[in-house]
């Protein structure tokens, strides 16, 4: 309950900031009665009102029996997973799709309890297989990165 209130309060701050930013929007020359700021401000206003209502009357969170309440260990894992996702996103272009995905695949598989060798195999197989499928067969261009010299 406290966590929820904290989150709602933290959410209210950017909403209020957005209202402040949004109220400055003006069309340089207007030829219609409703300008660019009315609709977003209306939505933000209602959103803020809804958040305040929830702050006062928070609804209890129902836990799925499948999902135990977070522990320190699972939160650490979630943090690691987020770091991994960010790392993958940042490495996607500079390293190239195949090396980045192999690495990410390996790390993800390890994080979710795979053993070293199968995880490595899976990462490389997925990276090469999906590259061939999307880049070669489906014409979705994927970055080659450090493998650019090879040009398979």
């Amino acid at each position: 309950m406290l966590l929820q209130r904290l989150f709602l309060a933290a959410w209210l701050v950017p909403v209020l900031a957005m209202i402040h930013i949004g109220s400055a929007y003006q069309a340089p020359f207007a030829y219609e009665p409703v300008g660019p700021r009315a609709f977003p401000l209306l939505m933000l206003g209602l959103l803020a009102a809804g958040l305040v209502y929830l702050l006062i009357h928070p609804t209890p969170v129902e836990h799925d029996p499948d999902e135990p309440p977070p522990t320190a260990q699972s939160l650490r894992k979630v943090g690691l997973c987020i770091a991994l996702l960010l790392g993958f996103a940042l490495a996607f272009e500079p390293l190239g799709f195949i090396p980045a995905s192999s690495l990410a695949g390996l790390c993800f598989a390890r994080l979710y309890g795979g053993r070293w060798l199968p995880s490595l195999g899976l990462g490389v197989a997925l990276a090469v297989g999906l590259y061939l499928l999307f880049d070669r067969l489906l014409d979705v261009p994927l970055p080659l990165g450090i493998l650019a010299g090879l040009e398979i």
């Binding site: 660019p36 977003p40 960010l86 996103a89 990410a104 979705v140 994927l142």
Partner: protein, 506 residues
């Protein structure tokens, strides 16, 4: 007899070898995606949008693919519900109630085939309803002006909150966040950059694919870290695989009833399969009375929600095609896909793109039949897919999701934005905020604002236009009813509690 002609024309489109093959592939992929824990129709359809593009599929084939995947996902979801007692998503929750006990009693094969049959009947009824009513609705919808559309979209948003049961406010807040996010980017009417913070990457708005994949795939990856059902064994499918005639006769009436009900709920904007299946189960439970074995493996308790899910999936396509207002999260994704093809769903779709609409309707018939014929003998194969461990599944989801996002703009920024959206989605899900309304709000937001501004331009700023026509007034009445619904429920709960309290005190 125009309708029949058009339908024949539609079958002409659906039965071309390419489209048949696409429907087949779509149903198979859909079933596998639906089977996998945590992946539902929204993920399946969203992941396939870039693929459909990459193949250079014409719009009607792309839509057939997405619709086939949608139906397949709903189909696959029931396999994990019945054999593992894990509902793939909210709508199949009701299936587990009687499906899993049946599987425990050694009737897994019967449960699977009966649910397949029920869902086929439901989808069949709904598709027939679609053939009958969609063209009528489309003709009628041409009378809708911008003001009426605006009110209709307000209804869609409010209906979601009103029917969300115990957390209307959270649903509303999620939808409003989606509506706000749709405003980010350059304003088409005035050229003002809104909420972009001078970043060129969001100048044309938040990409729809980024939002969907972030909200549903990335947050799912994070949630999979905590789930405790690793290694749960699927119930073995032994014994009789097919239901017998006697069982089919016992549930036939339920099939018809729930099929009709599911279709109606599916057509309502904003409602969808979850509500349809819950309503169907509760109604049948009440109708069966004390002699029902509901919750202990009653075949009626299995047939009712399955028929309703099948029917509401097809029903949800009616508002999507005729009004351009999605009836569920998944149809919202499909609308997004259509707009990528530069096709605006709405009443004119029936006139301008008859091949697309009727081809889609005809292929719904085809895909349903395929699912029924294919899946009964392949249940054994599918149960093996359930054994895929998370450590192999997550890298696959993560990499395909990233490819899907990268394919839109080819920028690192979109990948980072996807992760950020995913984290937000994860936190929202942890705090019990529903995510489909957010997506629906995002899809509706642009249209809502445009229609509001257009309406007020027509009336020169006079707000009266929003409630001047009969259609608008009728819709406002519905909006008011939907808003009153949660209050009514609250009042009834209080009234029910009051007499109980003194007894507890004494």
């Amino acid at each position: 007899m125009d309708t029949l002609n058009f339908l024949m024309q539609g079958f002409g489109v659906a039965l071309t070898p390419t489209n048949l093959l696409i429907a087949l592939i779509g149903t198979l992929i859909g079933t596998v995606v639906g089977l996998l824990p945590g992946l539902g129709p929204i993920n399946g359809v969203a992941l396939l949008i870039p693929v459909a593009f990459a193949f250079g599929l014409p719009p009607e084939s792309a839509l057939i693919l997405l619709a086939a995947v949608y139906l397949g996902c709903e189909y696959g979801g029931r396999i994990s519900s019945i054999l593992l007692n894990i509902p793939g998503e909210a709508s199949t929750l009701m299936t587990t109630l009687d499906g899993y006990p049946m599987a425990r009693q050694g009737l897994a094969g019967v449960a699977l085939s009966l649910s397949a049959w029920s869902s086929f009947l439901g989808a069949f009824i709904a598709t027939c309803g679609m053939v009958l009513f969609a063209p009528m609705l489309a003709k009628w919808a041409i009378a809708f002006g911008p003001a009426e559309y605006f009110v209709l979209m307000v209804l869609a948003i409010v209906a979601m909150a009103g029917m969300a049961g115990d957390k209307p406010m959270k649903t509303l807040v999620a939808a409003l966040l989606g509506l706000f996010l749709s405003c980010v980017g350059i304003d088409a009417n005035s050229g003002v950059y809104r909420f972009t913070f001078d970043s060129i990457h969001v100048a044309d708005g938040i990409q729809f694919v980024v939002l969907v994949l972030g909200l549903f795939s990335v947050s799912e990856i994070l949630l999979l870290l905590e789930k405790t059902h690793h290694g749960q064994q699927a119930v073995k499918t032994t014994g009789r695989m097919l239901f017998n005639l006697n069982e089919a006769r016992r549930v036939l009436l339920i099939n018809l009833r729930c099929g009709l009900g599911g279709f109606i709920v599916g057509v309502l904007p904003g409602a969808g399969a979850t509500l349809a299946s819950a309503l169907a189960y509760m109604t049948e439970k009440r109708l069966a009375g004390p002699d029902g074995q509901f919750g202990k493996g009653d075949i009626r308790g299995l047939a009712a929600p399955e028929t309703a899910i099948g029917a509401s999936c097809c029903g949800a396509m009616v508002p999507m095609l005729t009004l351009g207002v999605p009836g569920s999260g998944t149809t919202a994704v499909m609308i997004g896909a259509l707009t990528l093809y530069n096709i605006t769903p709405g009443p004119l779709l029936f006139q301008n793109e008859p091949e697309l609409v009727w081809g889609l309707i005809a292929s719904l018939f085809v895909a349903n039949l395929m699912l029924l014929v294919l899946n009964v003998p392949m249940i054994k194969v599918f149960t093996r897919i359930l054994a895929v461990p998370n450590w192999a599944l997550v890298p696959l989801i993560a990499i395909i999701t990233s490819i899907g996002v990268y394919a839109v703009h080819a920028t690192t920024f979109d990948l980072l934005l996807m992760v950020a959206v995913g984290i937000l989605g994860y936190v929202l899900r942890k705090l019990d905020f529903p995510l489909s309304p957010l997506l629906l709000g995002f899809i509706l937001g642009g249209h809502m604002e445009q229609n509001l501004r257009r309406a007020l331009s027509i009336s020169n700023g006079d707000l009266d236009i929003l409630w001047s026509s009969g259609i608008a007034q009728g819709t406002w009445v519905l909006v008011a009813l939907m808003l009153a619904l949660p209050l009514l429920r609250l009042w009834r709960r209080r009234a029910a509690r009051r007499p109980a309290e003194p007894a507890a005190l004494a």
